[in-house]
Homo-oligomer: 136 residues x 2
């Protein structure tokens, strides 16, 4: 897509630190990293988010993410790794081309991926459980 | 594993709000949710983290995650969805049985999945790029 920064990176119009690429995917260092080795995996096709990904590609990109996570653990000697994929502005997505973050984590690195635990009634939980079950 | 809380949930020893299960996976509502509909996907086999997952299972569990994300979007009428998988204490993993969080997000819900952008020299970035490339 002509105004998509990730499409421009995939096309080589914007330079990137490229770790890997094949016919379907490109793996680059994040230009706005939380840590050295923070990596993004992109499908080459312009796909906005997880809701637009076909199932086969979703499986393949996460198999690749597993390999990248392993490489990051080995190379960065980190204490942990987050694999994060955001969909929608409310979820922190800033580029509307599907991407997976692989983030090396270190003890006391100050990053936080958390939430305040919320309380719901048994009725609310059972009601949402039934609705979700019906959709799957 | 006898002292793993997720294994106990999978075995039915500890109750859960179960959305879906098949031979390989169980999908439940998170007992400590950030939002109503916050879901966990678990492999039934006790697997500690992404580094211990085989590639086939990794693909399959994320294909299932895609379906769950879609169901959550439809049922919860949320503005976004995070798909998050933590590996290691430093990354926020608290139960050492691989799991994927699917988190419905709403505008201004106060959750934050972010990091302070760090700056690295071109030499540092190129050096880590080369090391990662060699590992893949």
């Amino acid at each position: 897509m002509s105004d998509c920064i990730f499409c421009k990176i995939i096309d080589g119009e914007i330079p990137s630190y490229t770790i890997y690429e094949d016919e379907d995917f490109k793996v680059i260092l994040d230009a706005f990293p939380g840590a050295l080795g923070h990596t993004l995996i992109l499908p080459k096709e312009h796909i906005a988010d997880v809701f637009c990904m076909d199932s086969l590609k979703l499986g393949l990109i996460h198999q690749l993410a597993g390999k990248i996570a392993e490489a990051i653990k080995d190379v960065c000697h980190c204490d942990g790794v987050n694999i994060l994929q955001n969909n929608g502005i409310a979820a922190g997505q800033t580029v509307f081309h599907y991407h997976i973050h692989i983030i090396p984590r270190f003890d006391d690195d100050g990053m936080r991926f958390g939430w305040a635990t919320k309380k719901f009634s048994n009725e609310e939980l059972e009601s949402i459980r039934v609705l979700l079950t019906k959709k799957i």
